[in-house]
């Protein structure tokens, strides 16, 4: 029965793909147009809207990355924002302690998160769906607590990434294109996964892990790989925003609206008080409490994606 369902799904997917290639050229045209518009946007938009868009790109990247593990593989990794924070920390610490510049720091962030995901994933991905969900949320909290208590991470104060350039306009554009590029890269990777054997294996795991194993799919390897890829892109998203997330001490000092990190509308009201979206992004900071808004936004985006 399940097998049949699965085959039907596959057939439907193949049909859709064919349709997309032949008949859906208006959609393709619209997509290309939007891409071109976004490439050109920095020359028309002000700094504020560019930063908003940058955040949108990063959150979309995270949502796309969650989709690989939660959507294709069926493992609801609601705590995936842990990689966002870990990535930001890895990059900032690499820059501050080793003097690495931005580009290699971002790659290091991604690789650091891959390592983290593999180490965590081997035990945690053995859990079944709902327990996995709770475990990922738990891991996010544990990681935050550990980061708060370590010296190298800077405790509650967090880390400040060294300034990349002193020109705010240039910095805005740099992070804008960085976010945009990352989103395109993630989308491309997801597309590739979807159209190759690995995607097929992941969907098989989602439908019936037992059966997938019986078909000779090494589910442990595939699941861990899916989470690692997800972590890689989420982790690179951390240092690519170029935004100062509020530290926990800042959150406490802004009395009425402590979560200025979560929506841009609150921030426009609180411009004076809050550093998010408002300071020039030449340097950025990250603290243990920064994961919350990021995880919320990316999860909501994922919800929107998955309901489409």
């Amino acid at each position: 029965m399940r097998d049949l369902e699965f085959k039907q799904q596959e057939a439907a997917l193949a049909r859709n793909r064919l349709l997309a290639q032949t008949r859906n050229w208006p959609l393709m045209a619209v997509l290309v147009a939007i891409t071109l518009l976004l490439v050109a946007a920095p020359f028309a938009l002000g700094g504020y809207w560019m930063r908003v868009l940058t955040v949108v790109f990063i959150f979309a990247t995270m949502a796309e990355a969650v989709n690989i593990i939660a959507g294709y593989t069926g493992y609801p990794a609601l705590g995936n924002a842990v990689f966002f924070g870990t990535g930001a920390y890895v990059a900032a610490i690499a820059a501050n302690e080793l003097g690495v510049s931005l580009a290699p720091a971002i790659v290091l962030a991604g690789l650091g998160c891959v390592t983290y995901a593999v180490v965590l994933g081997l035990p945690i991905l053995r859990l079944s769906g709902r327990y996995f969900l709770m475990a990922t949320l738990g891991l996010m909290e544990i990681t935050r607590e550990v980061v708060l208590n370590l010296d190298i991470t800077g405790g509650a104060q967090g880390q400040i990434f060294p300034s990349v350039t002193s020109d705010p306009v240039l910095a805005n554009r740099l992070f804008y294109y960085l976010g945009f590029g990352l989103l395109l890269l993630t989308a491309l990777a997801t597309w590739w996964i979807q159209n190759h054997n690995i995607g097929l294996a992941l969907r098989a795991i989602k439908f019936d892990e037992e059966a997938a194993r019986a078909m000779g799919i090494n589910t442990t390897v595939y699941k861990t790989a899916a989470w690692a890829v997800s972590a890689f892109f989420t982790g690179m998203g951390g240092p690519s925003t170029g935004i100062s997330w509020p530290t926990s001490s800042q959150q406490r000092s802004t009395r009425s609206r402590p979560r200025c990190g979560c929506t841009s509308s609150t921030c426009s009201e609180e411009r004076a008080r809050c550093s998010v979206h408002c300071s020039a992004p030449a340097s950025w900071s990250f603290s243990p409490s920064s994961c919350g808004p990021a995880s919320q936004s990316s999860t909501i985006l994922f919800l929107v994606l998955s309901s489409c």
Binding site: I124, R130, M134, A135, G138, I142, T299
Partner: protein, 291 residues
């Protein structure tokens, strides 16, 4: 054994009783409907704020406000189940329920921000400093009351589930939903009641917590880890398991803090949770609701 450790053990047991009532509502909701209520800890937070408002507004003692707070949260949760979650379950979007409770969590936090602001609030009653001393061990009065009330309320829940018709229906739905329909049980109205009870328990926990914790809109985050731990350790849907789990967790946490340090408190409770999951990778499927 040194005195500090004994004191830590005592504190752990006093705390553990409270953990039981904190986790049992979540556990019940999961056991009956399979819904992971990520808003459970925020409902606790709302319960604390309501207690705070009753205390600062009309001077009602935090422990006397328990029935009121429980009733308020029962109604709120009942409505959430009836108008939000049930419609998802009916259409077969079981996976979406967890996302909904995630959203509900954000909603409650922001409601609290709007109504009560982000300031730290507290409920300090006339007897909050009172403590007994026995063999050099301190027993704070408030914490003893909290332990007693937690255990009492959990016991009342247990009696409700095994004695009353509605309680039996709740157990029946959790054991075999299809057979429950065949018995003439309206499963969805049982769902409403169950989620209502889950909310009421969260509210009670919030009221009990208000005298010993500062109240903020974000207090739910750390609590959720304890909620998970109690529920998983005790077996999801298992009431008496939750009491044992609560006390084990309370002791483990306080003793852990005694040796490692206060700042690791949360990491310890989540660590225990992850450890439990890893030791039993398929989850701990306890005997539901005991017998």
């Amino acid at each position: 054994m040194n005195e500090g450790l004994v004191q830590a053990l005592v504190n752990g047991i006093l705390l553990g009783g409270f953990y039981a009532i904190l986790g049992v509502g979540f556990s019940l909701v999961y056991g009956v409907m399979g819904i992971i209520n990520l808003a459970h800890a925020s409902m606790v937070m709302i319960g604390s704020y309501l207690t705070f408002s009753l205390f600062s507004g009309i001077g009602l003692d935090p422990f006397l406000s328990i029935p009121l707070v429980a009733a308020a949260l029962f109604v709120i949760s009942w409505l959430v189940q009836k108008y939000l979650l049930n419609s998802l379950i009916r259409r077969g979007f079981m996976g979406m329920t967890v996302v909904s409770t995630f959203g509900l969590n954000l909603f409650l936090i922001n409601v609290a921000l709007l109504i009560w602001s982000a300031d730290y609030r507290g409920v300090v009653s006339s007897y909050s400093g009172v403590a007994f001393e026995l063999f050099g061990i301190r027993f704070p009065l408030v914490r003893i009351i909290i332990l007693a009330l937690s255990l009492l309320l959990t016991y009342v829940l247990w009696l409700f589930l095994i004695r009353t018709k509605t309680g039996k229906a709740i157990r029946a739905v959790s054991l075999n939903r299809e057979a429950a329909v065949l018995m003439g049980i309206d499963v969805y109205s049982i769902y409403n009641i169950t989620f209502g009870i889950g909310g009421a328990l969260a509210g009670m926990a919030g009221a009990l917590l208000s005298p010993i914790s500062s109240i903020t809109p974000f207090m739910g985050g750390p609590l959720l880890g304890i909620v998970f731990s109690v529920a998983v350790l005790g077996g999801l849907g298992n009431v008496s398991g939750a009491v044992i789990a609560g006390i084990v967790l309370g002791v483990a946490q306080v003793v852990g803090v005694h040796f490692i340090g206060t700042s690791w408190q949360l990491a310890i409770s989540y660590g225990i949770f992850i450890l439990v999951l890893l030791v039993r990778p398929q989850g701990l499927r306890g005997v539901k609701f005991v017998k």
